[in-house]
Structures are given as C-alpha cells and as structure tokens.
C-alpha cells in the first residue's frame, strides 16, 4: 500500500505530462456538439466564478478590520442592483436550456433507416442482437451510419454508456428504451502479428480487453459501461464497441460469429438458440401452456392438428414447423408463429432438434443425431 503511495508523484506527473484531456476521444456525431456545449457552460461558469471568488478574497483582505470597528457602510438593499443580478443570469440559463434541449431532441430522434441492433442487459453482461439470430456480447456497428439500439433488461435497471459517443440511456426492465448514435471514427485493426502474439499470450482464458486494448478479432474499441448500479459485478459489466469502416467488414464479422463454434455440441448450441431466438417466449420446457405447445411434449409425441389430422412429432415435423409454421397448427393454438426460413441454418435447425430430444419427455431421450442424418431430411 505505501509502496503505491510513493508512486503518487510519478502518477501525478504522468497525468499532467501525458495528454491531459477533459473528455475521452470524440467518436460520434454527438460528441463535438456536446463537448462544445460543455465548454460553453464551463466558460460561463468561469465568467461568474472568477469575479465571485475574486471578490470573496479581495473583500476579506480589504475589509478585514480589527474587532469593534464599525462597517463603512450599512446599505440594507439596492433593489435595482438586486433585480439586475437576479434577472441577467437568466439569459445565460435560457441559452443553456435551449441548446441543451435541442441537442437532446436530436439525440432522441432516430433518423430514418438507422441500423437496428437489439440489446439485452442482464446481471452482469450484455447481449447484442444483430438479427438473424446472431448474438454477441460485443457491439459492432458501422461508421458514419446511424445505429439504433432497442434495449431491454431481463432483471434490474442497467444503463448503457459509451463515453466516446457521449451517449447514455438506462435499460429498464418492463419497457423498451432506445438510443441512437452515429459513430464517425472507425476502429483501427492491429497488425496480425500483434494479434497472434496476444492470442498466444492470452491463452484459452477469458479475453483480457483491458490488457490488450483490442478485441480478439484484432479491433481497437471504445468502452461501453453500465452506469446504473446493478449489484455485485456492476463495475465489471462492461463491453466494447467496435466501429467498422465498411459494411462488408461488419458482415464478415457477423458471419464469423454467427456459426456454431467447432467445439460446441449441437445440444448446447440448440439450447443457446432456444434461449436466444425467442423460442422460450412461447414454448415452455416444463409443460406449461404458453402461446405455443410446450417442448416437453414435442419430440416423439402424437400431435393433433387444427384441421383434424394427426402426426407424430419427428425430426421432419419439427423442421417443417420451424420453416413453415402455419401449415400444421396444433389444435387449440393460434397460428401465430413466424417462419424462421432464412433465419436458421440447417446446422441450427439440427441443433434445435437435438436439443428438443433432450427436453422432451416422450420418445427416445436419445443419442444425438449426427449432422449427416439431419441434412438428409429434406422438405
């Protein structure tokens, strides 16, 4: 502890010597305007503060008298003067309010055609949803295009804060909050050698963003913090924002993270898809009736449909239900399920089926179906 305290002068020197800035890097279209407004207010404050502090010290020095001496003047009031200093500052206040409110409205008005990314906050992490079922904790966006985050929380209140973008919004359970920003600085990529070296040194463990200052794909990043207190790991509920220069680059990254990693079993991947892709919203695992039939009675069960026909829920049936959900509707349910055609790859569907086999109470609780077997099943 004391050894560290000895570091103090050095650290102080560091602080002063190195690039001292009031703000983090400006990386969004809001940043410049926000910082300008901040300094505008600050200068007005200085304008007021210097005379106030100056008077304070000057009066102390000038009018400091020995005890018992009477005051030079005993003016009780001066209404014009008092009115003046009550009313004049108001003009500055109005200016601040107007500029702040205009800029705020801009921050609340999402431009047409903004790229929509879903964000889900939970204790203590983030899931970004890039559509088509691609989920990743990192936020990857496109430079010079507006991005809208549709945010929800699954437990307590969190708050998304990207200092470099000067943007913040709480994520409140029970409602959808949104925010938008347009990044205008693309993240650099580190050289392949540097990345390879870092990957080697980092090993298999959790990627150490703070240490490397780039992501495991080799991108520099901006910090994204949770700023609403949310419990034990609030202070490590952070993720990174990577800004891609081109849409191709972004798509390549999305493509890369969308596939089942080679080291994951289909069941595990299927479970992840069940939770991430919205199956869980309508299909329970414990037999409860929700919007759709429970998965507890899916695979291997006899199904009766609204049109009176029957069928056994086998691989083929499940696959069809995912791709063409309105063809065969189980009796007693509304045909509300959307098609996942083009949303799930064959591998994804196979993984879901493999997962369903593990949760269904009927039929073989069986050995995992191999990929080959699955791909043979054609519509």
């Amino acid at each position: 502890m004391f050894a560290l305290m000895n570091n103090m002068p050095h650290l102080l020197g560091d602080q002063l010597a190195s690039k001292f800035t009031w703000f983090p890097e400006q990386a969004s279209t809001f940043a410049a305007e926000n910082d300008w407004l901040f300094f505008f207010i600050t200068w007005i404050c200085v304008l007021f503060f210097i005379p106030i502090a100056g008077c304070l010290f000057y009066f102390c020095w000038k009018y400091c008298k020995p005890k018992g001496q009477k005051a030079e003047s005993n003016t009780a009031h001066n209404t014009p003067l008092e009115l003046a200093w009550s009313i004049l500052p108001s003009f500055f206040l109005v200016a601040m309010f107007v500029m702040g409110a205009r800029s705020y409205l801009n921050q609340r008005t999402v431009p047409e055609g903004a790229n929509n990314i879903g964000l889900k906050a939970f204790k203590w992490g983030w899931t970004m949803d890039y559509g088509k079922g691609v989920m990743n904790p990192e936020l990857h966006i496109l430079a010079n295009e507006p991005t809208k985050l549709s945010m929800r929380s699954s437990d307590v209140i969190h708050s998304v804060f990207v200092p470099a973008f000067r943007a913040k919004k709480d994520v409140v359970p029970g409602r959808y909050n949104y925010m938008w920003f347009e990044a205008d600085v693309a993240s650099e990529r580190v050289s392949d050698e540097e990345l390879a070296k870092a990957k080697f040194e980092n090993g298999d463990g959790v990627w150490d963003y703070d240490k490397w200052q780039f992501t495991q794909d080799g991108y520099r990043f901006f910090d994204l913090y949770c700023t609403e207190y949310c419990g034990k790991n609030h202070s490590v509920m952070q993720t990174v924002v990577v800004v891609h220069e081109t849409v191709e680059d972004l798509d390549a990254w999305i493509e890369k993270v969308s596939k089942r990693p080679a080291d994951q079993t289909p069941e595990a991947w299927g479970e992840k898809l069940y939770n991430q892709r919205g199956c869980a919203g309508c299909h329970s695992l414990d037999g409860t009736k929700r919007v759709g039939p429970s998965f507890k009675e899916s695979y291997g069960n006899q199904r009766r449909f609204a049109d009176g026909t029957n069928a056994t829920a086998d691989e083929d049936y499940i696959r069809n239900s995912i791709l063409y959900p309105k063809k065969q509707v189980v009796e007693g349910y509304q045909p509300v399920m959307p098609s996942y055609q083009g949303q799930l790859s064959d591998d994804d569907i196979a993984s879901i089926i493999a997962y369903l086999k593990t949760v269904s109470d009927y039929g073989p609780k069986a050995a995992p179906v191999t990929d080959d077997e699955e791909t043979n099943i054609e519509e």
Binding site: C55, C60, Y63, G68, Q69, A71, K169, T227, H234
Partner: protein
Amino acid sequence: MSAGSLPSGSQVKDPGYPTPSENYLTNSKGILSWIFTLDHKRIGVMYLVGVTLAFGVAGLLALLIRLHLFQPDGMVFQGEEANNWYNQVFTLHGAIMVFLFIIPSVPAALGNFLVPVMLGAKDVAFPRLNLCSFYLWVFGALFFVSALCASGLDTGWTFYTPYSTTTDSSVILATSGAFILGFSSIFTGLNFIVTINTMRPPGMTWFRMPLFLWATYATSIIQVLATPVLGITLLLLIAERTMHIGIFDPEYNGDPVTFQHFFWFYSHPAVYIMILPAFGIISDLISVHSHKRIFGYRFIAYSSIAIALLGFLVWGHHMFTAGMSSLTTIIFSALTFTVSVPSAIKVFNWLATMYKGSISLTTPMCYALSFIFLFTIGGLTGLHLGTLATDMHLHDTYFVVAHFHYVMVGGTLVAFLGGVFHWWPKMFGKMYSEAGGRLSAFLVFAGFNLTFLPQFILGSRGMPRRYATYDPEFAGLHQMSTYGSMLLGFGLLVALFVLLRSVGAFSRFGLACGKKAPANPWGGATLEWQCTSPPPFYNFERAPAVGDPYDFSDLEWEADEERYVTVEPKREVIPEEQPKPAPAHAEDSN
C-alpha cells in the same frame, strides 16, 4: 459595568443580564434529566451528539471507499465478495449520511437549539413532540444498525426497484428505518412551522426574524410536504418486497420508473432540506462577522421560500436518462434552471454584505467563506447537469458525485461546522481556540477540494459512479482523491478536537479548557446573543428586546472583557396593557 470605556452621556444598558445561577445544562442533573428532557436546547444538544456520531460512522465508511479505490482493482476489500463489500459500504455511507446526518444536522441539531431562542420564545410549540422526534431518530438509527448487522444493505441509498425488491440484503429493515426517520423529520418541521407562526413574542414581526429562521421555515415547509411521500414510497416498497404488489416491480406489471418518480418527489426537495438551513446559517454568519447589515434581507428571505416551492417542480432531473418521455424531460430541464436563480441571488447578496463591512476572520467566518467558494462551484456545475445534452454524458458519472458532494459537503457540512463554531460559545459557554478552529477550516477546505476536484475530471472522462473497480486509465485521479480524503478527514478531526477541548474533554491530559464565553462574543444582534451563554433554562431571564436582527450600530466591542455590549438599546417599548398578547395571529390570518 464598563461605562468608562464608552462616550460620556450614552446610557449603558446592562450588557449581560445578571448571570443566573443555573443554565440549561446545570439546572437539573442526572442522565434521566436528559433522557426525559422537554427542553429544546437539550434536545438540540442530544441531536448534535447523535448526528456527529452518525457522521463519524458514515465518514469512516467514506474513507474506506476512498482507500478501496486507491487501486484500480480495489485495495481494501479482497476476494470473491470484494465487490459486495464495496457495494454495502457505499450504500451505507450514502444512506447514513443522507438520512441520519445531513437531513437532521442543521434543522434538528442547530435548529432545535436556536429557533426558540432566536425567536424569543420559551420553547418550541410542542416540546413532547420534539422529544418524540428525537427518539424516532434514535429508533430509525437503530433500524439502520440492525440492517447493518443482519445482512447489510446494497441497494444504494436510492432503493431503486427492481434491484431493491430482489436483492438479499436487509432492505426492509433499512427502509423501515428511513420511514421512521422520515416521521422524525416531519415532526421537527411541523414543530418549527407552528413555533414560528404562533410563538413569536410581541415585536417579532416576520421581517424581524433572523434569516436562519426564514431558512428553517422554508425547510420545514418541505419537510412537511415532501417527507410523507417518501413514507408511502418506502411503505409500498416494503409491500412490494413482501407481497409483490406489482406497482414498482416489472415482474408483476409494475414500472420501475414510477418508483423513481415517487422517490425523487421526496428526495429532490430533500436536497433543499439539506441546503436551505445552510443558506440561513451563512446569511447570519456573513452578516455578523462582517458587522454589517445583511444586504437584501427580503430577497434572501423570499428566495428561501422560492427555492422551497420550486424545489418541488424539478425532481425529474434525476431521471433524464431513465426513460421518461422527451416532453417531460424537457419540462423538467427548464424548471431545473429556474431553481438556480434564487440560489445565485443569495451568493451575490452575501458578497454585497461583505463589501465595505468590518470583517473579522474568525473561525465561523472562515467556514462561511469556504462555504461560498465551494457552494458556488457545486451550484455552477449543476448547470452542466441540468442541461440535457451534457447530462446525457455526465449522468451517473463521477461528475455527479463531485457535484453533489460540493453542495452537500462543501455546502451543508461546511455551513454546519461554521454554525457549530459560531454558536458553540452560546451552547456550551466556552470559547475555543481560534487558531485551531481556523486551521481546521483551512484543512477541510484544502482536503475537500483535493478530494472532489479530480472527480469532476474523472466524471467528464467517463468514469461511472458506484464502481468497485475501474479501468487503470483513471487511477491517477482516483489516487489524488484518496489523498484529499485523508486530509479532509484529518481536518474534521482537528475541528472535533478543538471543540471538545474547549469544553474540557481533554483536561485530564493537561489541555486546558476554553475561556468562559461572554453573552455576545461575536457582536450578533439577534436575540440569542441577548441571553447568557449558555442560556438559562427558560432562555430569557427577562423578555428580550426585539429589534432589527441585523442592526449592529449599537454594539460596542469591549476589548478587556472580549465581548460586545449594547449601548443605547433601541429597545422596543412594549406597553404593559397590550390589546393582544400575540399579535402574530393577526398577521397569520392575512
């Protein structure tokens, strides 16, 4: 008594009344005479002891927080549960400081002692209620202690749902404590409003009241109007936790933002409960120690009331990023700016009071000057937070932490200390060491700035608040802040030492206690300086001469006795046969 030093022909009024054989501290003895006392002065002293203890506990927690943040990975708490420990410590620091220290500090401790004396009344209107509210405070404090002993509290002092409805810590004990403390606060406020309305003696018109009383009156209005809403909010929160009533918990169709509205409807006005009495103290301190009439008495008085009322319109600025509708957000931002005007008025008036005064740089004055400096910074940085666009960046960062510490610590705490140093001779009849007092004022000022100025920079650079660990880039500023907090803590210890020494707490170590205080050591013109120090049980041996509270023209310094005496008193001649004993009523009904 000391006619020789005065111009011939001037009539000398007996400066100190014949010293009564007993004062309020000595007129009855034994612990029971304190426990069951109905004397507002003793209750005030008990509050003073209580809030000081609470402050000590919360202050130690603050030092623990600062020490922990000395290193990016956390220095004090280690291991798996480190973050939980940190969360509990900052929550308790906030909750104890707010509910047990700041809210009762000036109004309940100093206010109880001073309001009736300044007013020229014998006691507050409801002495039993007054004692009751002190014991409610104790009871509430016990609840906090029991929460601490049970499983702590980790919700932050704001108890935001749904965190507070789902966490395992003792939220119910703590909220019950806050609920009880709320009632303590309500009863104190109610008592003061009634006292000021109906107990003013003849001659004490509204505009002859010292500004401290105006500030206390404004504070009491807020206490009575806002605190019940905290009561119901906490009650509903307890019900939410026990029965899941579904008003605040999204799990059951409730809305957490509604909770924030409920909570801040109280807690924003509560900010003014904390700062308004401080304004009152500073108004009196600046005027007395500049020996000059307060400049713009009415503007200051009205601005206190204006702040109290406007304070009810701005609670939404705590929720700019929470998901309020844009319209509500903009309205609240606009209203927020209106509150800054009356605060600014006061600062200008204080400066104008010092202008061409006869300033004595006594300890209370040093604190008052330090208050103006620090509060101005705190107030001005509020503009950054009230402005919507900049708040989007600064909200819930260390900028906010620094801002409200400048207002709460640099403002209220410094004013409280100034007030304690100012009225200490009156309360305990002893003078303290001026040098020690001034040293403490300087240390507190320096330590405070070193602690919290870096936090403005931390916040604007994006350091979120309530983080147990942080990115290494913020380390340097955090360390400066930690050093500052040590200095601040040391300064406060010096202040405590100086005060305790004056009443002989260290006499067994050979440290002499202070000199006996005269009735009027500073040259104040308000009524409390007309009674002896300490005041007799009944405050005034005879009816005080009610005059202009800021007219210092008939006070003369008596160097050999180190006191001020009144010459040619402009004593209000009260006819023996008055038509009505309490003319205050006539004014009330207007």
